[in-house]
């Protein structure tokens, strides 16, 4: 990998890290429970993106598997939490 592409890869990692800080703020200070669930979903996708870019940076193709599994499990967790919230009884938050 040439030098300028390595710099661009590091810049992309920095941009996704700033985005992770934003979603971490929403996870900590979210007004409602669903805000935190959305923030956690986006956080898992951002972690998957970071692992993908890191796999490109260090040149290890096995790390793409980790990103794939993390993306699938994060979305499935969000679907399960949404189903739980949807079928909540009256008066039980």
């Amino acid at each position: 990998m040439s030098d300028w592409l390595q710099n661009i890869t590091q810049g992309a990692l920095g941009a996704i890290s700033v985005s992770m800080l934003f979603s971490l703020h929403r996870l900590l200070r979210g007004p409602s429970l669903t805000d935190r669930v959305v923030a956690l979903d986006l956080f898992s996708l951002q972690t998957s993106a970071v692992i993908t870019v890191y796999a490109l940076w260090v040149g290890q193709p096995e790390l793409v598997d980790v990103a794939l599994v993390l993306a699938v499990i994060g979305s499935m967790g969000t679907i399960v939490i949404a189903r739980y919230l949807y079928s909540a009884r009256k008066g039980v938050p």
């Binding site: 592409l5 985005s19 669903t34 959305v38 986006l42 998957s48 993908t52 490109l56 009884r89």
Partner: protein, 123 residues
């Protein structure tokens, strides 16, 4: 040439992920936050996986990246729709300048409903 396309995909994907985080940080309403976060993040992860598949240049990596992009593009809209339905049913307040609300006519907001019970008392 291959490195230039990889760099363009990397920059676009990273900018879209940054836009998703910024939308989750700045939007005034839960539903607008969902609108900002879901679309931008799924397209950003797709572009980044395409960049990794192109830059690593292996057939197995291309297959895994295609599988990952397919999973993300199928699962993220489903999760977003379910979260939005649960939030609207739980009575999360909308932004005060939201004008059109088609869901209100058939399923009015304001607290969880009594769940419809089956014949044997199961939900």
């Amino acid at each position: 040439m291959k490195e230039i396309i990889t760099a363009v995909l990397l920059v676009l994907g990273a900018l879209l992920m940054l836009l998703a985080g910024l939308g989750l940080f700045r939007m005034p309403d839960l539903f607008l936050r969902l609108h900002g976060a879901a679309k931008a993040s799924s397209l950003g992860v797709g572009l980044l996986m395409g960049a990794a598949a192109l830059g690593l240049g292996d057939v197995s990596v291309v297959a895994r990246a295609a599988l990952g992009v397919t999973f993300v593009f199928v699962m993220t809209p489903v999760a977003t729709l379910l979260i939005a339905q649960a939030a609207f049913r739980a009575g999360i307040p909308l932004w005060e300048r939201t004008h059109q609300n088609d869901l209100e006519e058939h399923h009015p907001a304001g607290g969880p409903y009594e769940p419809r019970l089956g014949p044997d008392g199961e939900d």
